[in-house]
Symmetry: C2
Subunit: 696 residues, 2 copies
């Protein structure tokens, strides 16, 4: 709990000003407008500002303050914070800019501020932010142009301007907030702290965020996973593309991780990702006012056939079903609706439908057990009584536990109706498609919040062996490993193909005899990168004769093609047939750490990029979904009468890789390519592995 | 030209009424509001309505009327039209509903109306429509709630309610129209007629349409192709999904073609397809007011870093580039912008930027030759002078030939600025992403309109041979063909693999000797559908011995597995190796006719549905694009050092198939599967063909 941050008994404004247009004045005005606690302006050049006694420093103010809002120039901020600490201030909001976002000097200054805050046991919002708002306590410690309306949404944003725009947008639509936090550079408090704060905040039902990055990826996932079971978390994450993430780093100095990692992390922690600010707002409205539906069967009611069709299309695209009504529902509709109406979903009450017909249709359809939610569409046609229809909708909405989302489509002629819907907190979307997408998000969340988190499995592995092997390699300055990589997999219970490096013909023959035929033979030489091109690979060797002939011709071929290559021997490998090649990879994301990748081998990965991702450590449920979510998954379940592959063994291997890369952060990159997957029940075998180690 | 439809000297309203709330009154009111010609109410029960002399029938009205608007009940419409014809009316607008959309009886009535109209040489809009509007002539022959503002957009819609919503939406944003047409059931006049009408209409610069289907697909493509070179055509086509298209048929009785066919047809005729009504409106605004940019290099100017990042992301997703400014531009910006500004694209003028800074930045950036268009973003921050900024934007916009699209993001605090932008016809989008998508559409159209239509090639083929072969098959009641299919391909210059059906071992040996080895042998039997399962396929036969052994063992295998199968012989085929399998298919779309399909064979088609479409007959330019647009195209150009496939031969085959299926509508379905494509320069060979014929 961030004690006294949102409901302090007193607030000091360090850098308060009486000059209109200055931030120090705007903050003071905002506090004066709705905050009932003590307000203490701090400014060495004034005795009084706006009727309030003013002090040169916070140390001079009798009784100090629980919260300090800092608006002095960046270079003066460390000193101001130091004084806050000495004066016993609990929390500070640093609005001043000129820190990490401004370059190296600013970064130093920011680190200094964070240190001071920590030394004194204070917590800090910002720097480089707009401030914070709490509508319950009446606190507006920001230079926002207006106070937020009261509501149940808590929003945080890494962009002050997006705070401003959102507040203004919401105000015009009657959308209210509980807490509003401009995160700024997040030198101390970040989204993670506020997620925890909002989890148990009784005034918060919906959490929304504009983020350019997260401060601590794994922590974010852990917290979001927990909080999202109680309240929906809707996030827009910008800087998704190369150009976007370049712009991010010059904005708040945030280092953006890969968009794939964010997608995986959000999905694993049940965070709802909005694709645009508009969608963020659309979803905020739906979640803040409507119940979560029990299922995905939706009814569309419209007075305009065309709008109904557009909504029906949108439902299919969004993965929603159109309800099939009970026969009794249809009969009831038939009894009152005009003959030309469409009684089946979408229900068209026709262009001249009056409010009572709307009300009857809504009520009848809401009563049908096959209906989980309603999309209500209205075009302001010649006979349409917009105002009365909106009132009927509001009345029906008050008596149902199913969500209703509206789209009254028009301009001036729908304004009055829209105002009524706004007043009753029934979201109205300018066009049907947006209502449908919002409904789908409500449905998705209904599934998400029921989902029990599955702990990553902990296999009984030989961690010590791997640990000493890696330590040894790193201390010898080796960044990649040879056959020892196979031992690492074995230590973690991942089946690997029998493989031996041998130096002589006799050694080769013995090795093959031991492992059994058929075998594959490859030349071993640090000088040869494309083995196939120099005759350095032989497959399908069935017996000792084959092996001897292959060994001798290979040696002569290699000598002929690359006379100067130093050959250290050959590698023999048991040949595996009848399997399908898949790839399991891992690299480390700057924000979330180990990012696992899965896909089918060959062109599917190379050309189609048909791969899926998850952040490790990760449970078996997510890994199952990861495997089944690639587009080429049917190839694994078996097409054209083929027998299915051993998918369980892929998932098991992914679980073990998840554990391995989580146990050893020094493994920077990792790839099993290919993992040969045999038919169901026969497991899988790692055929080759690539592993890159980090420094000491 | 639809003479006197939009500017008649006189308009009769058949079914005029003085009763408020009736359509016959609404139409009369609308005419009285802005139309300066003669208005003639027709109603047998009144002598005068709203001060106008009223007549029992149009035949009683002295001088008749050039246009008649019909609002009487459906069953009375044929008689009313008959009288219009006798009275010399040129055009009719039938608003009355109860026709094709209402079932079989309605369909009959509609056909009857179309016949009457034709007999009398009249043209008809509707039935089941809202009416038509022409702002130039002041004609509002509709029951829309209000007259459209004057503007340069002409819109047609198959849904009357979407007309109403659009008019109301546009009115609130100062968006004006030239012509507004509610198409209704399109019993006579359709989108094709109005496209031609708008092509040369000097008041129309942009054509927009909501369609549930097109009346004549090939004609639509021909007309749209021509018109889109002069004016952008933006279409939203609903009923894209199964549920949506079911809803379409109960709305206007339109039979929806496949969405793939619409996509192909729109793309081939340079129609811009909007994904939602919202996008239709967004694009209408951009096209109606902004010039078409010369290229895709866009500058973003913002007073809010966060908005800039969102726009940068959106640019990348939309395929736009961020301009790299000239060094002189950067220097100039540096000279006046505050030090903390970002001078590189996106340009952040900072939250406290005043109008003069905005103006300076816009002007400087517009001057840079690397900038083709500007996206201007504004958040209403504490110091932001929205009104003055909007005025500066308007001024700069008036002096440039580059498009500027704005996104002032907020609610009440941006209203004043938005009103100024609306007044100056500078589109303002509520969120940055929509401005970016609209800019991309402007850029796309710039490329489209320059594109010269390439005539489908006409190869010298043996059409008569195919014609008689097909005629023969059909008259014998055959729906599929055997080896004759290969002859059809040969007649159209498509290489086919050498294939022979033979009855005896000796015949087989002779055939193989003639075609050369290696060969493939397949059992021929109408009773065996899965040849491989009964040992009925042998590949890679290298010489006469192989063939003899294969023949004998195949016969005994088949006898053992399927003792009752009647075997008529074997098929021998030259074996082709070293190629890649592709598929060329065709089926007939209800709206557009022959729809060609192309894709790589096997799992790529079966699992990934990685295919592309085009409507035949079609030129080589589109077919080239069709081949290169599949996701797996790199497999054809060669990956992993493979040599490229003979892509030119695929395109050539597609051209010839296009001609074949256009020449013979009796070919209902057609598939070459596989077409074996050899390395570049070596052509391709059809290995198998499936062909279904239609009835007599």
């Amino acid at each position: 709990m961030l004690e006294k941050l949102f409901d302090p008994a007193s607030v000091a404004v360090i850098g308060a000003s009486r000059t209109e247009g200055k931030v120090g004045r705007a903050v003071l005005d905002n506090l004066l407008e709705s905050y009932s606690g003590r307000i203490i302006p701090i400014n060495p050049k004034a005795d009084e500002i706006l009727g309030l006694p003013c002090y040169p420093t916070i140390l001079d103010a009798p009784g100090g303050a629980e919260l300090a809002v800092v608006v002095v120039p960046a270079v003066l901020v460390p000193d101001a914070l130091e004084k806050c600490g000495l004066a016993g201030v609990k929390n500070v909001v640093v609005i001043s800019a000129g820190f990490k976002e401004a370059g190296i000097e600013g970064s130093k200054l920011e680190r200094r501020c964070a240190e001071i805050v920590k030394e004194h046991g204070m917590r800090m919002v910002g720097p480089n932010c707009l401030g914070i708002i709490d509508t319950a306590s009446g606190l507006n410690a920001s230079f926002a142009a207006s106070m937020a309306k009261k509501g149940n949404i808590s929003m945080m944003s890494q962009s002050g301007a997006i705070c401003t725009s959102t507040l203004d947008w919401a105000d015009a639509r009657g959308v209210g907030f509980s807490k509003f936090i401009s995160l700024g550079n997040k030198a101390d408090l970040s989204e993670n702290d506020f997620l925890l704060e909002m989890e148990d905040d009784e005034n918060t039902a919906v959490i929304a965020a504009y983020l350019e990055g997260v401060k601590d990826g794994p922590k974010f996932m852990e917290i979001a996973r927990k909080v999202s079971r109680k309240k929906p978390i809707i996030v827009i994450k910008s800087g998704r593309t190369a150009v976007g993430s370049r712009a991010v780093s010059s904005h708040t100095g945030t280092l953006a991780g890969s968009d794939e990692a964010y997608n995986a992390a959000f999905s694993q922690s049940n965070v709802i990702r909005a694709d645009s600010v508009e969608q963020l707002m659309d979803l905020m409205r739906a979640f803040s006012s409507q119940p979560i539906p029990d299922g995905r069967n939706i009814a569309i009611i419209t007075n305009a056939g065309g709008l109904g069709i557009l909504a029906a299309d949108a439902c299919q695209f969004a993965g929603l079903s159109l309800s099939s009504f009970d026969e009794s529902t249809i009969e009831k509709l038939r009894s009152k609706l005009p003959p030309a109406s469409s009684l089946y979903n979408p229900v068209d009450v026709l262009g001249d439908a009056r409010p009572d017909i709307y009300g009857f249709a809504i009520e009848t359809i809401l009563d049908d057990p096959n209906v989980d939610g309603v999309i209500l569409l209205t075009s302001p046609q010649a006979m349409t009584e917009i105002k009365n229809i909106a009132e009927v909708v509001a009345e029906k909405c008050a008596h149902t536990k199913k969500p209703i989302l509206c789209s009254f489509v028009g301009g001036t002629r729908i304004e009055e109706g829209e105002a009524i819907l706004n007043r009753h907190h029934i979201p109205n979307y300018p066009f049907p498609e947006r209502a449908v997408v919002s409904m789908a998000a409500l449905c998705d969340y209904g599934v998400m919040r029921e989902h029990e988190y599955v702990l990553p499995e902990k296999f009984d592995v030989d961690k010590e062996f791997v640990s000493s092997l890696l330590k040894d390699a790193i201390s010898n300055g080796r960044r990649t490993l040879g056959l020892e990589s196979f031992d690492i997999l074995r230590a973690y219970g991942i089946p690997v193909v029998e493989t031996l490096n041998v130096k002589t013909l006799q050694g080769t023959l013995d090795a093959c005899e031991n492992m059994g035929y058929p075998v594959v033979m490859k030349v071993l030489s640090a000088d040869i990168s494309h083995k196939t091109d120099v005759g350095g690979v032989r497959i399908g060797l069935e017996n000792a004769d084959d092996v001897e002939r292959a060994y001798l011709t290979m040696m002569s071929d290699v000598r002929r093609y690359m006379p100067h290559a130093v050959v250290s021997g050959v590698q023999v490998q048991k040949m595996i047939t009848g399997g399908k090649e898949v790839i399991i990879g891992m690299n480390r994301d700057v924000q979330f750490g180990p990012l696992l990748m899965f896909g089918l081998g060959g062109t599917y990965v190379e050309v189609l990029k048909d791969v899926s991702f998850s952040v490790a450590p990760v449970g078996v449920d997510v890994l199952k979904k990861m495997v089944s979510s690639i587009r080429t998954y049917p190839i694994l379940t078996g097409i054209r009468g083929e027998s299915p592959s051993d998918i369980a063994s892929i998932v098991d291997t992914l679980c073990r890789v998840s554990q391995l890369v989580s146990d050893f952060p020094e493994i920077l990159e990792f790839e099993i390519n290919p993992l040969m997957v045999l038919p169901e029940g026969q497991g899988c075998v790692a055929m080759d592995i690539r592993l890159t180690l980090g420094g000491e």
